[in-house]
C-alpha cells in the first residue's frame, strides 16, 4: 500500500498505487438546486452508449431522488454500513476509507449487488423525506418537507476503486485528462471492479460477459466538446471542464473557481476515499445538516451560504460562472466577468460565450395587429 494525499479528506490515506495525478482532471459540477429530474441526461447517455443487447439495465447516468432513491438498490446505505462509523475532525476525515477498511484478502470493502438490486431504477422517485400522513402540511417556505434530485455519473476518481480492484489491470486512468476507462479487449469479466466501486458505476454486460463503464464521452472531450449528458441538461445544472492539480488552480478556470476558489462544489461521499471528480452544489432547502454532511462532507454548509449569496446578488462572479453551465457545447477553459456580462473561451482561445447576467425583459403589447391575435405571453 502506498501513502497518497487525498485533499477532500485533508489527510494522507492508503491506496495500492502511488499518487499520480493527471495533467488536468476532467470534472463536472452539478447544481442540485436546479435539477428537475427530467432524466434527459439519462436518455442522452442511454441512446448514445448503452442501447445494445446486454446493456438493458445499464445507466451510466442515472438520476435518483434523495433521501430515498438509489440505483442499484440502497447502494449508498449498504456501502456506508460496511464502512462502519465515519467522523470528521473539522475538515479532516477521522474514519476509515473503503481501502483502509478492507477485510483480509481483499483490497477494499465491497457491497456485491445481485441482479435484483438493479431492478428498481426509479425507486423513491419524488418521495419526500417524511410520511405525509403524520402531519398536515400546507405550502410554505422554508419547506417542512424536502427531497432533491441527485444525478450521478462515474466520478472518474483520482483514487479509483474500480481501477485498483481489477486484478488484470484492465482499467486505467488517462494521464492527459484523468478519464477512467475499462479496456474492452483485456477485461475477462471477473467483476471485481463492479464490486469495488462504491458508487456502483461499473456494469456487467450480459451479452459480452465483460464489464463496461462511463467513458465521459472521451471522443467528444478530445475535440473540446462536452459529454452528452452535460450538453443535453435541460435544467442547465451541469458545468464540465478540467480541474487543475491541487496548488495549480486558476481563478479564471470555471471548474477550479467552483471547487477550489468559491468552494461551492462538493464531492459525493468523500469519506469513501476515492477523491471523486463530479462535484455537487448541495440543495439549500434540506433541513438536515447531518444528512447533507454525510453526503457531501463537512464543507457543504459553507457551500450553501456561498451559493445563497450569489443568488441574492452579493457575488456576481459566482453567479456568472453558474450561468455558464450548459451555455455552450464547447468545453470552457477560461471565463471573465466584464461588468454585467460574462464571457468564456475554449482551449484554442475562441470566445464561445458572451452573456448578460440578467437577460433583458421585453414587454410586448397583448394585441398583434399584423396577425390579428392576442398574445397570452407578453414578456
Amino acid at each position: 500500500m502506498a501513502e497518497v494525499f487525498n485533499w477532500q479528506l485533508n489527510r494522507m490515506m492508503q491506496y495500492p498505487y502511488e499518487e499520480s495525478r493527471p495533467i488536468r482532471q476532467a470534472a463536472a459540477i452539478f447544481d442540485t438546486n436546479k435539477c428537475i429530474g427530467c432524466q434527459t441526461c439519462t436518455l442522452a447517455c442511454k441512446t448514445c452508449w448503452t442501447s445494445g443487447n446486454g446493456q438493458e439495465y445499464m445507466l451510466w447516468n442515472n438520476v435518483e431522488t434523495k433521501p430515498w432513491g438509489s440505483y442499484p438498490l440502497a447502494w449508498d446505505v449498504r456501502e456506508l454500513e460496511l464502512l462502519g462509523p465515519q467522523h470528521w475532525d473539522g475538515d479532516t476525515y477521522g474514519g476509515k476509507t473503503i481501502f483502509e477498511a478492507a477485510p483480509q484478502g481483499e483490497r477494499n470493502i465491497a457491497w456485491k449487488p445481485t441482479d435484483m438490486d438493479y431492478s428498481y431504477p426509479n425507486r423513491g422517485e419524488d418521495e419526500v423525506n417524511v410520511t405525509l400522513t403524520s402531519k398536515r402540511y400546507h405550502l410554505k417556505l422554508p419547506h417542512d418537507m424536502w427531497f432533491f434530485y441527485l444525478p450521478r455519473v462515474c466520478n472518474h476518481c483520482t483514487y479509483a476503486a474500480c481501477l485498483q480492484g481489477c486484478p488484470r489491470q484492465s482499467i486505467y486512468k488517462r494521464p492527459e485528462d484523468g478519464i477512467v476507462l475499462l479496456d474492452q479487449e483485456r477485461c475477462r469479466g471477473y467483476r471485481v471492479c463492479f464490486e469495488a466501486c462504491p458508487y456502483k458505476k461499473v456494469f456487467y454486460n450480459h451479452t459480452t460477459r465483460v464489464s463496461e463503464k462511463c467513458v465521459f464521452c472521451f471522443p467528444a472531450v478530445e475535440q473540446g466538446i462536452q459529454p452528452r449528458c452535460m450538453r443535453n441538461c435541460i435544467g442547465k445544472i451541469r458545468s464540465f471542464g478540467f480541474l487543475s492539480r491541487p496548488g495549480e488552480e486558476r481563478e479564471d478556470n470555471p471548474i477550479d473557481f467552483l471547487v477550489h476558489i468559491r468552494k461551492v462544489g462538493k464531492p459525493l461521499y468523500p469519506q469513501f476515499g476515492l477523491e471523486p471528480n463530479v462535484y455537487y452544489i448541495p440543495p439549500i432547502h434540506v433541513d438536515s445538516n447531518a444528512f447533507l454532511t454525510m453526503l457531501f462532507g463537512p464543507g457543504c454548509l459553507d457551500s450553501i451560504e456561498a451559493y445563497k449569496k450569489a443568488m441574492n446578488g452579493e457575488d456576481n462572479e459566482l453567479l456568472a460562472v453558474l450561468l455558464l453551465a450548459v451555455s455552450t457545447d464547447q468545453i470552457i477553459h477560461r471565463f471573465q466577468l466584464k461588468g454585467q456580462t460574462v464571457e468564456a473561451w475554449n482551449e484554442k482561445g475562441d470566445k464561445v460565450v458572451s452573456m448578460p447576467l440578467k437577460v433583458p425583459t421585453v414587454e410586448r403589447t397583448p394585441y398583434d395587429p399584423d396577425l390579428n391575435v392576442y398574445r397570452y405571453n407578453i414578456t
Binding site: G52, Q184, T207
Partner: protein, 303 residues
C-alpha cells in the same frame, strides 16, 4: 532446461536438456506410475476428447489437495473445493488431463451480474516445482494454461447463452440499429451480420470472452506472473466437461507440440511442472478467487 525449437525459435520445449540441468529428480526418467510428488502421463493409442472414454481408466488417478489462494489480491481464503482427482495421458501427439471434483451446484452461466461459472485449469510450466509456477509464471518463465469453463461448455452444447437464458420474459422495443430485427431475435450474430458490433463493445474489441460461437470449452492461455493471463492466438485446445451425480468430470486436451510464441512444447519421455485449480461459481469464485493445488506437481511423460 529449455531447448529452442529450430522451426519456431521463441517457442519453448520442455524436456530435452532437462536431465543435463539436473534440477529435477524425475527429469528424463519417466516412471510408469504416480508417486508422492507427481503424476505420470500415460501413453495410450489415442487421447480422447470425451471425459467418459474408457481409455481414461488406463491412467492412474492422482488425488490433489486444493487450498486457499492467499498469494494475490483478491484472495479466496476458504476454498469451496478441497480436492481434485487428476489423470493424465498422451498419444505421442496430443496430451489430455481428466479432472474430477465434487461441487453440488451446477453453475454454467455467467449472464446475470451475480452469476459466476464453475471452471478448472491445468498449468503447464517449465522449471522446478519451487519456481514461478506458484506465481503464475514470471517475466522470463512463461506458463501455459488450459482453462475449461462451464459457461463455455454450455455455449458449445446449446449455442451461445445470452439474455434468453437469464431473462426469458424480458420485453424490449428495439435494439438500434437493428430496426428490422425482432428484439427477441437479436443476438451477437445479428450484430455481426449488420456490421453493428460497435453496439457490443467486447465483441467489437475481439475479446475472446465475448465471441458469438465457440467450438471448444477449453481456452489456451499464457501467463508471466499474476495479472498477465493472455489468450494465445492459436486456440487448438479441446476437451469437454460433464456433470456427474456429485460434481464435474472434465477433460482438457492440447497438442504436445507448441504452435504459438511462448507456448511450451512437451516431449515424450521428459517431465514438466504443473498445477491444478478449481473455481466454484456458487461461491463467487472468479479470477484469483479460486482453489489452487497446494503444491506444484511434476508430470513425468511416458516415452
Amino acid at each position: 532446461m529449455v531447448a529452442s525449437s529450430s522451426a519456431i525459435s521463441r517457442r519453448t520445449m520442455i524436456g530435452g536438456a532437462v536431465a543435463g540441468a539436473g534440477s529435477l529428480a524425475l527429469a528424463g526418467c519417466a516412471t510408469d506410475e504416480n508417486d508422492a510428488t507427481g503424476l505420470h502421463m500415460f501413453r495410450v493409442g489415442r487421447t480422447p476428447d470425451d471425459p467418459n472414454a474408457d481409455v481414461w481408466g488406463l491412467a492412474q488417478p492422482f488425488e490433489i489437495d486444493l487450498g486457499p489462494q492467499d498469494m494475490a489480491l483478491p484472495m479466496r481464503l476458504d476454498p469451496a473445493v478441497t480436492t481434485v482427482r487428476v489423470r493424465a495421458l498422451h498419444d505421442g501427439t496430443t496430451m489430455g488431463f481428466l479432472m474430477e471434483w465434487t461441487d453440488e451446484d451446477t453453475n454454467d452461466l455467467s449472464v446475470r451480474v451475480d452469476e459466476y461459472r464453475d471452471a478448472c485449469a491445468v498449468m503447464i510450466a517449465e522449471g522446478t516445482p519451487g519456481d514461478a509456477a506458484r506465481t503464475m509464471g514470471g517475466a522470463d518463465l512463461p506458463v501455459n494454461l488450459l482453462h475449461w469453463k462451464a459457461d463455455w461448455q454450455r455455449d458449445v452444447d446449446q449455442g451461445r447463452q445470452g439474455l434468453d437464458a437469464a431473462y426469458p420474459n424480458r420485453a424490449v422495443d428495439v435494439y438500434p440499429p437493428l430496426f428490422d430485427v425482432a428484439p427477441a431475435d437479436v443476438d451477437i450474430d445479428a450484430y455481426v451480420e449488420h456490421g453493428a458490433t460497435n453496439w457490443l463493445p467486447g465483441v467489437h474489441a475481439g475479446n475472446p470472452i465475448s465471441v458469438g460461437s465457440r467450438t471448444s470449452p477449453v481456452e489456451k492461455l499464457v501467463a508471466f506472473g499474476f495479472s498477465t493471463t493472455t489468450h494465445l492466438p492459436t486456440q487448438n485446445a479441446g476437451g469437454a466437461g460433464m456433470r456427474t451425480s456429485t460434481g464435474w468430470k472434465v477433460c482438457l486436451t492440447r497438442p504436445l507440440a507448441a504452435v504459438d510464441e511462448r507456448e511450451l512444447s512437451v516431449l515424450p519421455g521428459a517431465s514438466f511442472t504443473s498445477a491444478f485449480t478449481v473455481w466454484s461459481g456458487g461461491g463467487r469464485d472468479v479470477g484469483s478467487r479460486k482453489a489452487p493445488s497446494r503444491t506444484v506437481h511434476v508430470v513425468t511423460v511416458a516415452p
